[in-house]
Amino acid sequence: MADQSRFGEEAMVYADSLYAYALRMTRNPPDAEDLLQETFLKGFRSYASFTEGTNLRAWLFRIMTNSYINLYRTRQRRPDEIGVDDIERLALFRELGSPSAEDSALEHFTDIEVKMALESLPEQNRNAVLLADVEGFSYKEIAEITEVPIGTVMSRLSRGRAALERALADFVKHRVENGASA
Protein backbone atom coordinates (compact mmCIF):
# COMPACT_ATOMS: atom_id res chain seq x y z
CA MET A 1 0.00 0.00 0.00
CA ALA A 2 1.43 3.31 -1.10
CA ASP A 3 2.07 6.06 1.44
CA GLN A 4 -0.20 9.02 0.69
CA SER A 5 2.20 11.54 2.15
CA ARG A 6 4.64 10.72 -0.63
CA PHE A 7 2.12 11.06 -3.45
CA GLY A 8 2.74 14.73 -4.24
CA GLU A 9 6.46 14.33 -4.57
CA GLU A 10 6.29 11.11 -6.59
CA ALA A 11 3.51 12.21 -8.94
CA MET A 12 4.68 15.79 -9.56
CA VAL A 13 7.56 14.40 -11.62
CA TYR A 14 5.02 13.55 -14.33
CA ALA A 15 3.09 16.82 -14.21
CA ASP A 16 4.54 18.29 -17.42
CA SER A 17 3.80 15.26 -19.59
CA LEU A 18 0.34 14.84 -18.05
CA TYR A 19 -0.34 18.51 -18.75
CA ALA A 20 0.75 18.09 -22.38
CA TYR A 21 -1.60 15.11 -22.72
CA ALA A 22 -4.41 17.13 -21.12
CA LEU A 23 -3.83 20.06 -23.49
CA ARG A 24 -3.95 17.85 -26.59
CA MET A 25 -7.14 16.15 -25.39
CA THR A 26 -9.07 19.21 -24.23
CA ARG A 27 -7.54 21.61 -26.78
CA ASN A 28 -7.64 24.51 -24.35
CA PRO A 29 -5.59 25.56 -21.32
CA PRO A 30 -8.43 26.18 -18.80
CA ASP A 31 -9.87 22.69 -19.32
CA ALA A 32 -6.38 21.17 -19.32
CA GLU A 33 -5.65 22.86 -15.97
CA ASP A 34 -8.88 21.51 -14.50
CA LEU A 35 -8.11 18.06 -15.84
CA LEU A 36 -4.60 18.05 -14.39
CA GLN A 37 -5.89 19.17 -11.01
CA GLU A 38 -8.64 16.54 -11.08
CA THR A 39 -6.08 13.85 -11.97
CA PHE A 40 -3.86 14.75 -9.03
CA LEU A 41 -6.78 14.85 -6.60
CA LYS A 42 -8.14 11.50 -7.77
CA GLY A 43 -4.65 10.07 -7.74
CA PHE A 44 -4.09 11.24 -4.19
CA ARG A 45 -7.41 9.89 -2.98
CA SER A 46 -6.90 6.47 -4.54
CA TYR A 47 -3.17 6.27 -3.92
CA ALA A 48 -3.73 3.67 -1.21
CA SER A 49 -4.82 1.29 -3.97
CA PHE A 50 -1.67 1.89 -5.97
CA THR A 51 0.91 -0.86 -5.63
CA GLU A 52 4.26 0.71 -4.95
CA GLY A 53 6.97 -0.25 -7.38
CA THR A 54 4.50 -0.60 -10.25
CA ASN A 55 4.12 1.93 -13.03
CA LEU A 56 3.01 5.21 -11.44
CA ARG A 57 3.25 7.15 -14.69
CA ALA A 58 0.91 4.75 -16.53
CA TRP A 59 -1.40 4.72 -13.51
CA LEU A 60 -1.67 8.52 -13.60
CA PHE A 61 -2.27 8.56 -17.36
CA ARG A 62 -5.05 6.05 -16.85
CA ILE A 63 -6.68 8.27 -14.23
CA MET A 64 -6.37 11.26 -16.55
CA THR A 65 -7.84 9.38 -19.52
CA ASN A 66 -10.82 8.28 -17.43
CA SER A 67 -11.29 11.74 -15.97
CA TYR A 68 -11.23 13.23 -19.43
CA ILE A 69 -13.91 10.81 -20.60
CA ASN A 70 -16.08 11.58 -17.57
CA LEU A 71 -15.67 15.33 -17.79
CA TYR A 72 -15.60 16.06 -21.50
CA ARG A 73 -16.65 13.09 -23.58
CA THR A 74 -20.32 14.03 -23.69
CA ARG A 75 -19.48 17.36 -25.28
CA GLN A 76 -17.81 15.66 -28.17
CA ARG A 77 -19.90 15.37 -31.29
CA ARG A 78 -17.27 14.28 -33.75
CA PRO A 79 -16.75 10.59 -34.45
CA ASP A 80 -14.34 9.33 -31.85
CA GLU A 81 -12.52 6.77 -33.94
CA ILE A 82 -11.49 6.17 -37.54
CA GLY A 83 -13.59 3.21 -38.57
CA VAL A 84 -12.06 2.07 -41.81
CA ASP A 85 -8.78 0.42 -42.40
CA ASP A 86 -8.12 1.65 -45.91
CA ILE A 87 -6.79 5.11 -45.20
CA GLU A 88 -3.65 5.85 -47.09
CA ARG A 89 -0.54 5.07 -45.11
CA LEU A 90 2.67 7.11 -45.16
CA ALA A 91 0.97 10.14 -46.75
CA LEU A 92 3.57 12.55 -45.45
CA PHE A 93 6.44 10.38 -46.59
CA ARG A 94 4.88 10.33 -50.06
CA GLU A 95 4.39 14.10 -49.99
CA LEU A 96 7.91 14.92 -48.92
CA GLY A 97 9.62 12.17 -50.84
CA SER A 98 12.51 10.48 -49.16
CA PRO A 99 14.70 13.25 -47.84
CA SER A 100 18.37 12.68 -47.47
CA ALA A 101 19.71 12.83 -43.95
CA GLU A 102 20.96 16.40 -44.38
CA ASP A 103 17.76 17.79 -45.88
CA SER A 104 15.17 17.51 -43.17
CA ALA A 105 11.81 18.78 -44.36
CA LEU A 106 10.26 17.69 -41.08
CA GLU A 107 12.15 20.32 -39.15
CA HIS A 108 10.02 22.98 -40.87
CA PHE A 109 6.90 21.95 -39.00
CA THR A 110 6.00 24.42 -36.29
CA ASP A 111 4.66 23.51 -32.85
CA ILE A 112 1.29 24.86 -33.86
CA GLU A 113 1.07 22.76 -37.02
CA VAL A 114 1.95 19.55 -35.20
CA LYS A 115 -0.47 20.30 -32.37
CA MET A 116 -3.26 21.18 -34.80
CA ALA A 117 -2.65 18.00 -36.78
CA LEU A 118 -2.79 15.89 -33.61
CA GLU A 119 -5.85 17.68 -32.32
CA SER A 120 -7.64 17.10 -35.61
CA LEU A 121 -7.56 13.31 -35.11
CA PRO A 122 -10.58 11.45 -33.77
CA GLU A 123 -10.28 11.10 -30.01
CA GLN A 124 -9.40 7.41 -29.69
CA ASN A 125 -6.80 7.53 -32.45
CA ARG A 126 -5.32 10.75 -31.14
CA ASN A 127 -5.00 9.41 -27.59
CA ALA A 128 -3.27 6.25 -28.82
CA VAL A 129 -0.82 8.28 -30.91
CA LEU A 130 -0.11 10.66 -28.02
CA LEU A 131 0.50 7.82 -25.59
CA ALA A 132 2.77 5.93 -28.00
CA ASP A 133 4.63 8.59 -29.93
CA VAL A 134 4.77 11.46 -27.48
CA GLU A 135 4.86 9.55 -24.19
CA GLY A 136 6.58 6.38 -25.38
CA PHE A 137 4.22 3.92 -23.70
CA SER A 138 4.20 0.30 -24.90
CA TYR A 139 1.13 -1.31 -26.48
CA LYS A 140 0.46 -3.15 -23.22
CA GLU A 141 0.64 0.04 -21.18
CA ILE A 142 -1.65 1.87 -23.62
CA ALA A 143 -4.09 -1.04 -23.45
CA GLU A 144 -4.17 -0.65 -19.66
CA ILE A 145 -4.40 3.13 -19.74
CA THR A 146 -7.26 3.21 -22.24
CA GLU A 147 -8.83 -0.05 -21.02
CA VAL A 148 -9.06 -1.80 -24.40
CA PRO A 149 -7.40 -4.94 -25.83
CA ILE A 150 -3.93 -4.67 -27.37
CA GLY A 151 -5.36 -5.42 -30.84
CA THR A 152 -7.57 -2.34 -30.54
CA VAL A 153 -4.57 -0.25 -29.50
CA MET A 154 -2.67 -1.40 -32.57
CA SER A 155 -5.44 -0.56 -35.02
CA ARG A 156 -6.13 2.81 -33.38
CA LEU A 157 -2.43 3.62 -33.53
CA SER A 158 -1.97 2.54 -37.10
CA ARG A 159 -4.98 4.52 -38.32
CA GLY A 160 -4.10 7.47 -36.12
CA ARG A 161 -0.54 7.64 -37.42
CA ALA A 162 -1.79 7.43 -41.01
CA ALA A 163 -4.26 10.25 -40.34
CA LEU A 164 -1.58 12.33 -38.64
CA GLU A 165 0.64 12.03 -41.69
CA ARG A 166 -2.31 12.99 -43.90
CA ALA A 167 -2.98 16.09 -41.78
CA LEU A 168 0.68 17.13 -41.81
CA ALA A 169 0.91 16.48 -45.54
CA ASP A 170 -1.99 18.90 -46.03
CA PHE A 171 0.03 21.64 -44.31
CA VAL A 172 2.89 20.98 -46.72
CA LYS A 173 0.53 21.13 -49.70
CA HIS A 174 -0.88 24.48 -48.58
CA ARG A 175 2.59 25.78 -47.97
CA VAL A 176 3.66 24.77 -51.48
CA GLU A 177 0.53 26.31 -53.02
CA ASN A 178 1.02 29.56 -51.14
CA GLY A 179 4.70 29.62 -51.95
CA ALA A 180 4.05 28.94 -55.63
CA SER A 181 1.56 31.78 -55.95
CA ALA A 182 3.86 34.30 -54.28
Binding site: A20, Q37, L90, L92, F93, P99, L106, L118, S138, L157
Partner: protein, 108 residues
Protein backbone atom coordinates in the same frame (compact mmCIF):
# COMPACT_ATOMS: atom_id res chain seq x y z
CA UNK B 1 -16.71 -2.23 -51.49
CA UNK B 2 -14.61 -3.54 -54.31
CA UNK B 3 -14.32 -7.29 -54.32
CA UNK B 4 -11.20 -8.44 -52.59
CA UNK B 5 -8.55 -9.26 -55.20
CA UNK B 6 -7.26 -11.96 -52.82
CA UNK B 7 -3.76 -12.35 -54.24
CA UNK B 8 -2.67 -15.93 -54.21
CA UNK B 9 -0.16 -16.23 -51.43
CA UNK B 10 2.86 -17.95 -52.81
CA UNK B 11 5.49 -18.46 -50.13
CA UNK B 12 8.17 -18.36 -52.79
CA UNK B 13 7.18 -14.86 -53.86
CA UNK B 14 7.25 -13.37 -50.41
CA UNK B 15 7.33 -9.62 -50.89
CA UNK B 16 9.89 -8.38 -48.41
CA UNK B 17 9.24 -4.68 -49.03
CA UNK B 18 5.51 -5.00 -48.55
CA UNK B 19 6.04 -6.99 -45.40
CA UNK B 20 8.54 -4.47 -44.06
CA UNK B 21 6.30 -1.47 -44.68
CA UNK B 22 3.38 -3.35 -43.18
CA UNK B 23 5.35 -4.06 -40.01
CA UNK B 24 7.27 -0.79 -39.84
CA UNK B 25 5.29 0.66 -36.91
CA UNK B 26 5.52 -2.55 -34.91
CA UNK B 27 9.21 -2.67 -35.68
CA UNK B 28 9.76 0.92 -34.52
CA UNK B 29 7.56 0.33 -31.49
CA UNK B 30 9.77 -2.57 -30.46
CA UNK B 31 6.74 -4.84 -30.43
CA UNK B 32 7.85 -7.60 -32.83
CA UNK B 33 9.07 -11.04 -31.87
CA UNK B 34 12.83 -11.34 -31.99
CA UNK B 35 12.62 -13.56 -35.06
CA UNK B 36 10.41 -11.11 -36.96
CA UNK B 37 12.47 -8.15 -35.84
CA UNK B 38 15.57 -9.73 -37.33
CA UNK B 39 13.85 -10.40 -40.65
CA UNK B 40 12.79 -6.76 -40.91
CA UNK B 41 16.13 -5.46 -39.75
CA UNK B 42 17.97 -7.55 -42.32
CA UNK B 43 15.70 -6.31 -45.08
CA UNK B 44 16.15 -2.69 -44.00
CA UNK B 45 19.91 -3.06 -44.14
CA UNK B 46 19.64 -4.26 -47.74
CA UNK B 47 16.83 -2.08 -49.12
CA UNK B 48 17.43 1.64 -49.42
CA UNK B 49 13.80 2.67 -50.17
CA UNK B 50 12.46 0.78 -47.14
CA UNK B 51 15.25 2.13 -44.99
CA UNK B 52 14.39 5.68 -46.04
CA UNK B 53 10.80 5.07 -44.90
CA UNK B 54 12.11 3.84 -41.58
CA UNK B 55 14.39 6.84 -41.11
CA UNK B 56 11.59 9.20 -42.08
CA UNK B 57 9.20 7.65 -39.55
CA UNK B 58 11.81 7.76 -36.81
CA UNK B 59 12.42 11.43 -37.43
CA UNK B 60 8.70 12.19 -37.67
CA UNK B 61 8.14 10.71 -34.24
CA UNK B 62 10.96 12.75 -32.83
CA UNK B 63 9.58 15.94 -34.37
CA UNK B 64 6.05 15.22 -33.11
CA UNK B 65 7.28 14.52 -29.58
CA UNK B 66 9.53 17.59 -29.56
CA UNK B 67 6.77 19.92 -30.75
CA UNK B 68 4.41 18.70 -28.04
CA UNK B 69 6.48 19.48 -24.97
CA UNK B 70 4.64 21.55 -22.40
CA UNK B 71 5.41 22.97 -19.01
CA UNK B 72 2.88 23.22 -16.21
CA UNK B 73 2.40 26.91 -15.36
CA UNK B 74 4.01 27.76 -12.04
CA UNK B 75 0.79 28.92 -10.40
CA UNK B 76 -1.01 25.71 -11.40
CA UNK B 77 1.82 23.61 -9.99
CA UNK B 78 1.61 25.53 -6.72
CA UNK B 79 -2.17 25.26 -6.62
CA UNK B 80 -1.99 21.48 -7.03
CA UNK B 81 0.69 21.19 -4.35
CA UNK B 82 -1.51 23.21 -1.96
CA UNK B 83 -4.55 21.06 -2.75
CA UNK B 84 -2.64 17.89 -2.03
CA UNK B 85 -1.27 19.24 1.22
CA UNK B 86 -4.77 20.24 2.21
CA UNK B 87 -6.06 16.73 1.41
CA UNK B 88 -3.20 15.26 3.36
CA UNK B 89 -4.07 17.34 6.41
CA UNK B 90 -7.70 16.29 6.16
CA UNK B 91 -6.68 12.65 5.79
CA UNK B 92 -4.39 12.72 8.81
CA UNK B 93 -6.99 14.43 11.02
CA UNK B 94 -9.59 11.88 9.86
CA UNK B 95 -7.15 9.16 10.89
CA UNK B 96 -7.30 10.59 14.38
CA UNK B 97 -3.68 11.59 14.09
CA UNK B 98 -4.78 15.14 14.82
CA UNK B 99 -4.69 18.16 12.58
CA UNK B 100 -1.25 19.20 11.49
CA UNK B 101 -2.38 22.75 10.95
CA UNK B 102 -3.96 25.23 13.30
CA UNK B 103 -6.31 27.31 11.16
CA UNK B 104 -9.65 25.93 10.17
CA UNK B 105 -9.44 22.45 11.63
CA UNK B 106 -12.92 22.15 13.06
CA UNK B 107 -13.05 21.07 16.68
CA UNK B 108 -16.37 19.66 17.66
Amino acid sequence: MSSDPAPSVNPFEFNACEETIHEIYHFLDGELTEEKRRVIETHLSQCQPCDSVKRFEVELRQVVADRCREEVPKDLRERIARLINHELDNASSADGAGPRREGNASAH
